[in-house]
Amino acid sequence: MSAVEQMKSVPVNRLPMPTYRFLKVNEAELPLPEGAVTCKDPLAGIDLPEGLRVTAGTFAGMEEALREIPTGMGEEADRIFAQAGCPASVLSVQAGVQAAEPVILPVTATVGVSSLAAVTVRAEEDAALEIVIDLTCDAAGCAAARSFFGMSLRILAGDRARVKLVVIRRFGAPMSDLIDLGIRCGEDAAVEYSALSLGVRGGSKAGAGSFQGVLATLAGDRSSFIDHTGYYAGGHGLLDMNIIADHRGRDTRSDMIFRGVLDDHAKKIWRGTLDFKSGAAGSAGNEQEDTLMLSPGVHNSSVPLILCGEEDVDGRHGATIGQLSDEILFYMSSRGYTAEEARRLIVQARLKSVAREIPDAKLRWEVEQWIEREIA
């Protein structure tokens, strides 16, 4: 038996309301890490702007208010972190404090080793904070061994708090990874999330890929959630996403846009749910997908879902699926672009439009350079 067949997996990224089973999109099978697992604590020993505090803690012993926040991937993902005995420190911003500068957390995946990292954020009333998590792995080793990496994130945004989280995934080689996020918003709280998933290439092994889940619970009235995601998947990469905006409070808003590029034999499964619970009167949600397919070998599947437990709501879904048409290629070549250059410009432009969300100029520049170097 091969290693793949021995590898255990757990169901994650469950669709809130199952559809036909033959579509095989109701959930994903996350292959579990093999062998020993190393935990990292991205919040350990970092410099903090004034008004911010880190409290050490473990994932298993996470305080109730945080643990209760459901995540996009689901409880099975939590179990991985709890069983590994990982730390889960809490970054908190005191009430009324507006962090002067973004908190940047570089996390390096260890090569050939399965590593996990968890970060929880608590923004108290009227607080504001920007966080950037920069996921990389050291190039030389990363290419040599298939590694597993997991990141678990929770955000508790108090009344009128504002949190912006940017996660940059720039692994240069095939990885199995998960990025799991749970958000809970109080009254008038606003959370903005931006994920830039680069270099999802996957190996030849079935099941490898990037699994990502986001669940935003808009509990407080007038709370809002913005998601601006960009991705590139090529090779035999698999990108499996589950994004849920759970509208509970009155007049809540969600606005989510997913811009991506699929190349070679890459496979993407996207589940996007706007869930309007009873009591969410006056709420509106919007989910837009914009996918560029560069090769006939790609597999693109989208499962938009709008659940209405309330009458007075407005849910929208839109999808644009494009190819690099002969028209665009000729138009660009008539201006001096070779087909290769045209393709590169269009692909990179998409990803850079999401990279613009990075609130730190130096890191933004670095990521743009990375895109120019590594993509297409």
Binding site: E327, I328, S334, G336, Y337, T338, S353
Partner: protein
């Protein structure tokens, strides 16, 4: 030596012959006008000259700047100094108008384009074309109105400074003021850039402020008449009847 020399050019699209033995000579810096009824093959000629791979060259040759370019790809023709303003400009999602032009300049010259000088030039060209500055940062042609797309084409021409610009019905779909504005842009190109022009048009308004050297009439894939600017008035008055009957 002429800038463009087309000899006996025939072209087909999807196996259907459209152009039949076109002869056309354009001198450096001169302005030619190409007129003809709908479906005559004017856009086809523009595409064939620019090197659209959909248009199969079935005979004849194209020389540009003394070089044989009949087999050259479109990007190489652009680099040699050819430009086509599209009758239907294409949307390029994700790439801003200004980035698109700056990259194109870089592709064509092989030199990095200095941002400061570039932005200054863009600003003045956009002013000349009465284009709102914010369009520089918008995705090229995405959500642009018909008239705005045409202006964006002329903006590219002004920025890229080709030796020969083929304008395929750049004036169609423009309101009265926009035609005047675009016409000013074309005149600036004539005067400052010393570029040659092949203007495909159905109307004469865009030509009013321009000096025209030569007019060609294309009917059913053939140039049936070549003359001076007086031909324009004749067509204005009597249409293409005389030429379609002969053809």
């Amino acid at each position: 030596m002429a800038l463009l020399e087309v000899n006996g050019l025939s072209a087909a699209v999807d196996g259907q012959p459209i152009l039949q033995g076109i002869d056309l000579t354009i001198e450096e810096g001169s302005t030619h006008v190409l007129m003809g009824p709908n479906g005559a093959g004017k856009s086809t000629l523009g595409f064939a000259l620019m090197g659209n791979p959909r248009y199969e060259i079935t005979g004849g040759s194209i020389r540009f700047g003394g070089e044989e370019i009949t087999e050259l790809s479109a990007d190489k023709r652009a680099k040699a100094g050819m430009f086509l303003s599209f009758q239907n400009p294409v949307e390029v999602p994700g790439v801003s108008l200004s980035n698109f032009i700056r990259n194109a300049e870089h592709m064509q010259t092989g030199q990095p384009v200095k941002l400061f000088g570039f932005q200054k030039q863009m600003k003045s060209a956009m002013e000349l074309l009465s284009m709102d500055e914010t369009y520089a940062d918008r995705d090229l042609n995405v959500g642009f109105s018909g008239g705005e797309k045409k202006k964006a084409e002329i903006l590219q021409m002004l920025m890229l400074k080709p030796r020969l610009a083929i304008l395929d019905e750049t004036d169609s779909g423009l309101d009265v003021d926009a035609v005047r504005t675009v016409s000013q842009g074309v005149r600036a190109f004539q005067q400052e850039g010393h570029g040659a022009l092949l203007i495909i048009t159905h109307s004469t308004r865009i030509l009013e402020a321009l000096h025209v050297d030569t007019v060609h009439i294309l009917v059913k894939g053939r140039i049936v008449e070549t003359g001076d600017a007086a031909l324009i008035e004749e067509i204005n008055a009597r249409g293409f009847e005389r030429f379609t009957q002969e053809a």
